[in-house]
């Protein structure tokens, strides 16, 4: 049973560039959430996708956007990168309607912006 997989694991970008991160949810899950974890901080909620639509959004600017595909996989896009976007980006999957809130996390994509 495959867990949550993310790619790439590490990447380096420069300010102003754009980045796309990818996530495949755990088998059987239909909901994907994205989190940003800065060094020394807890994960911060970016947004959640369900049925190919953004269902909830945290306090992140419009430079952060996403997409969910029919196979439930998801992408996180960040435009006009800033130095402060350097962080570990975590994808978490869950099954909607269970009302348990339990999330299964991937190992993350570590983004460095120079």
């Amino acid at each position: 049973d495959a867990g949550v997989t993310q790619s790439p694991t590490h990447l380096i970008k420069t300010r102003g560039q754009q980045v796309t991160l990818r996530c495949s949810p755990k088998s059987g899950h239909d909901t994907v959430s994205w989190y940003q974890q800065a060094l020394g901080q807890g994960p911060q909620f970016i947004f959640q996708y369900y049925e190919e639509e953004e269902r909830q959004r945290g306090n992140f600017p419009d430079r952060f956007s996403g997409h969910q595909f029919p196979n439930y996989s998801s992408e996180l896009n960040v435009n006009a990168l800033l130095l402060g976007d350097s962080a570990l980006y975590l994808c978490a999957s869950s099954l909607a309607g269970r009302n348990t809130g339990e999330l299964f996390f991937g190992e993350g994509s570590r983004l460095t912006v120079l």
């Binding site: 949550v4 909901t31 901080q41 807890g42 994960p43 309607g97 809130g101 190992e107």
Partner: protein, 112 residues
């Protein structure tokens, strides 16, 4: 505003010592409560969770947590820590399927 507070940033213990990590939250409604653990080089994984019922919940590896509604707290405990418990511990809260909010984390170092 909804928030989760973890009181200890870094805790250092010797093996066999008892552990208690504090967590307080500020949510108005019915909440689900979680403790996640992140071992060095690994992904976040669920340690234990509380949805309803007995406020004392037991998780993996001998961990337990107690939900005290009147204090908005969900503290994590373990009677006797091991070197392998060295990790970062995150308290998290959500309401139903709403977004999960995490505390800043507590880094636990267990000395052999």
């Amino acid at each position: 505003a909804q928030s989760v507070s973890q009181h200890n940033h870094h805790v250092i213990l010797s093996e066999a010592a008892s552990l208690e990590l504090g967590c307080n939250y500020s949510y108005g409604g019915t909440v689900n409560l979680f403790w996640y653990v992140q071992y060095p080089g690994q992904h976040l994984q669920l340690l234990l969770k509380y949805f309803s019922g007995d406020p004392l919940v037991k998780g993996i590896k001998g961990f337990e947590a107690e939900f005290i509604k009147s204090k908005f707290s969900f503290n994590l405990r373990k009677p006797s820590v091991q070197w392998s418990d060295t990790a970062e511990y995150f308290c998290a809260v959500n309401e139903g399927d709403n977004d999960m909010r995490f505390g800043a984390g507590t880094r636990l170092t267990v000395k052999p």
